[in-house]
Symmetry: C2
Subunit: 561 residues, 2 copies
């Protein structure tokens, strides 16, 4: 198996007849999935998603793939194929289309409808190419074929990409639910047919590669949800992802069965379910869904609310209910159902929400105490089926952190893929498929691009480092006004501190030390602003470190008059 | 069941013959356990621990109970009973003893040895009172009796407190391992005897009240650990808590069996295992443990390292190994064993460590993929035994977040404790046991006291709010120098920003706006520093919000010359 090579240089020129694959996201992380395929100077992109920030990326709203690798080659892009409409696969599309508006966007009917609703908010009208499972479609030198896969959102697709370099099968996200409520099975027959034809490279979803066995059918959740709603004494509040149409369908069906009305809460929930209803993916009897404003005054036992916020997002309705900062006042007898996964990184936030709701007396049902969620990703036992059916010459695990990629690579090895035909790549690593072999040939930049407020890319890793220091330690700023002529102190030093936790009365203790240090400096007779800054920073830094064992950011400001 | 009353006022004077119980920590949180018992103006304290900070408490090292409630009454304290030597039960003792050095510290032999080793680092020599299970001891009006309990550290105790107000049984932390390796069982016979005598109030460990069933015996882990060490190709690195003597014993036994030497890494690991070895709690054959420096050059297959860092602490050896920032260079074939729980809140940090180690090719064994940890706290099925054996007149769940306290209260109700005899209290809530009934009678302050560097309590919630803003958004500071006589700008405005992610070239765009705003202000002819600050803050704030939709902290500094 190939290993990470921090010393990888830029890749060589792409040779004739070779297919190049560069993931700009999704390898070594779960999120911002984006794979760029290149053949004879033409590009095909599969997925273009966002990554959600971790605590060490404070204040960041979203993280995008770095488009630098393709920025000079936007006109070479034949199309962007979207395997399904989850944010980690489509969220960065608006940002890519800002760079070139008319890139054709390829996807299933629901995927296109959901991306279009999203793009409308960005005031972009996309060029759409609707495809359906079983269909073949050529984009420049790329002959694509789409296959149905089952996932936690309807209408997901895998894509096979044929070029003279060989057949690449990219599974997208999938699971293997054998009794799906909409009848849409992952097309193992199609995978087998491709396997018989010869898959030169399999790129397969690694999310659950560490999880042994098989994922339970979505169908088995329905009776659990139904029982929760049937036995609920008062209000029922269900939190789920705004894209999980099947789960929402289950809740609505059960609510109707038990004579409760349903209100949808949250902008993305209302938008997506509207789209799903219009296209027939969500079926609701007339009068069952009512406006959430209307429902506030209703008897609690007649109501089911379906909202976002299952990941503990602080501004979402559910968090605000937990803090009693919402018109819906959760109380003893209410039931809250977290019908979703717990995305790694959100544990603390979700725990806070559960505790807040428990404090007010609500019963909280979650995947830790009831079977109210199944994963959307195939587990190890199922991944083996795909490996055995496709019998790939080369294997590249995708969609996973290192632990998942390694685990998936091990599964591939167990099914007989030779170790030296398994490529574990990180974001930016360049893989060439040539003469039937996939090999790492170099690397390109694939860093994080941060979205904060309205700006994209202005917040850098350098700014985040500053934020981490400021957030952990606060800052002390010292202003001195010096006379340019004499180098003497005209006013100040004035000292300000925020977030440092240092008593202002003690803070002034350092002022005489600064004055003394500046006098010693001025004795040289030379006025050197940089030097004054250094003297101030060193004096204050040493004092804080000696007195408090702390390292706040120290900002000397020198003003000349 | 009693519910949280945010409107609780100060408690009334304690009536004669009544026992008062105030938890200054541990209720509504897992950590900083501390219960203050009061009878006839005398105080007995059970445990005095720390809480570890969450991400929204940035830069904080530790959180202590607020001693304000007892600060004027330090001389009334008869003793501090420590149930066992975990940090969340003993960590705040050094800070309490700073306020009064000669408070008697009561505990088992191991507990006292470990707190003494800790206090030595704080240069405090405690007054120790060693007790053993089965022993009765009087402290002022409090007749205490100690009972053995089994936990994830040896020599843990429950304590029964007798006063004329009745019998209170405080379980401390416990589990019910029926085949413990050291033969120390939780004393259910003693619990039953107290139950027969009449337990007026049971205060019992709620940590695992949500977890159905029973905790596996520690004994069942040994073969799993042994198999990991037996089959390891190269180096074995085990991360565990520095207090988990039984787990470390298992690793050492297995290492010796397979001909490997063991090195201990990390200050607290070395200190605690030294104490445990001296007292006979850890048994090691001569020559098995070697110095960690010595082991660096050894053949990887002859080595087991036991280190701290199982919670992903960034400065611990394990995190540094994952980042290749440690002399031990983890490589393909190495095995890392996380033989510990995953403390809620640490998921992201631990995930990062697992990914880092996986990246370098190590096999990472953890509780997610092997049975290498069992909890130290009794699960719901076991808690029912304690409730049924003690048949308490009143019940107060302790040691838990709201979700755990609620779940434990529900178990108590199922065993027949009447709802109105179950008291769910938060930190600071005052509970009086009088005439056989426990009731909430008021509340006292029980906020967080933050330790940061060498300072205790200087970092306030206000400073933390500043840190959160600074950490999320950075700051912009604007310095203006004004002539006190004329109110005119003498120098500046100078603008500095850190962590804001705003391009410095664009930042200067706001300068003319500030000057214009100040000119308009100066037209009044009045120099009002506060007013100038307001004008500057408003001008810059509006510009940033309009241009970037951001809210960095804005710091106007006005200097008069």
């Amino acid at each position: 198996m190939s290993h990470p090579h921090p010393e990888l240089g830029p890749p060589p020129e792409l040779s004739d007849g070779a297919l190049r694959i560069v993931a700009l996201g999704g390898l070594g992380e779960i999120g911002r999935n984006m794979a760029v395929f290149e053949y004879e100077h033409r590009l095909l992109i599969v997925d273009c998603g966002v990554l959600f920030p971790e605590p060490d990326q404070p204040g960041v709203d979203l993280i995008l793939p770095d488009f630098e690798y393709i920025r000079d080659r936007l006109d070479d892009i034949e199309a962007v194929v979207l395997t399904h409409a989850h944010e980690d696969h489509i969220g960065a599309v608006p940002y890519l289309l800002r760079e070139r508006r008319d890139i054709p966007i390829v996807g299933s009917r629901l995927t296109l409808a959901l991306i279009e609703a999203k793009l409308t908010e960005h005031r972009i009208q996309p060029v759409k190419v609707e495809v359906v499972e079983g269909e073949r479609r050529r984009f420049g030198p790329f002959e694509t074929e789409f296959l149905a896969v089952n996932h936690s959102i309807p209408d997901a697709l895998a894509v096979a990409i044929r070029t003279p370099a060989g057949i690449v099968l990219h599974t997208g996200d999938f699971r293997m639910d054998q009794l799906p409520s909409d009848g849409r099975l992952t097309d193992l027959g199609g995978f087998a047919r491709l396997g018989a034809e010869g898959v030169d490279l399999l790129m397969s979803d690694s999310t659950n590669a560490e999880v042994p066995g098989f994922v339970t059918s979505e169908r088995e959740i329905a009776p659990v949800i139904d029982e929760v709603i049937r036995t609920a004494e008062k209000r029922v509040i269900v939190a789920s992802f705004a894209s999980h149409i099947h789960r929402v369908q289950q809740v609505i069906d059960s609510a109707e069965k038990h004579g409760r009305k349903v209100a949808l809460v949250g902008r993305s929930m209302i938008r997506n379910m509207g789209v799903a209803r219009d296209l027939g993916y969500l079926r609701v009897s007339p009068g069952v869904i009512v406006d959430s404003k209307e429902i506030e005054g209703w008897p609690a036992e007649d109501v089911v609310l379906i909202c976002t916020g299952s990941q503990g997002e602080p501004m979402a309705a559910l968090s605000r209910m937990a803090n009693r900062d919402h018109p819906i006042r959760v109380a003893e007898g209410d039931t809250v159902l977290l019908a979703s996964s717990l995305v790694p990184g959100n544990e603390t936030a979700v725990n806070k929400v559960i505790n807040g709701l428990s404090r007010w007396g609500a019963r909280v049902v979650h995947k830790g105490n009831a079977k109210v969620h199944v994963s959307g990703h195939a587990a190890a036992g199922e991944l083996l089926y795909v490996l055995n059916l496709t019998r790939p010459s080369n294997f590249m695990p995708v969609h996973g952190e290192w632990r998942h990629l390694r685990a998936h690579a091990k599964l591939a090895a167990l099914t007989g893929v030779p170790d030296d035909h398994i490529v574990i790549a990180e974001d930016g690593v360049v893989v060439d498929l040539v003469d039937g072999r996939a090999r790492i040939v170099g690397a390109v930049p694939a860093g994080y691009v941060y979205v904060d407020g309205t700006s994209v890319g202005d917040v850098t890793d350098f700014a985040l480092k500053d934020r981490r220091i400021l957030g952990d330690e606060g800052f002390i700023s010292i202003v001195v006004v010096v006379d340019t002529g004499t180098g003497k102190l005209t006013a100040g030093p004035e000292i300000h501190a925020r977030g440092s936790g240092i008593d202002p009365d003690r803070l002034v203790e350092v002022l005489p030390q600064i004055e003394r240090a500046l006098q010693e400096h001025a004795a040289d007779g030379v006025v050197d602003i940089q030097q004054i800054r250094r003297v101030v920073r060193r004096t204050v830094g040493r004092w804080v470190s000696d007195t408090y064992r702390r390292r706040p950011m120290i900002i000397p400001v020198v003003i000349e008059v």
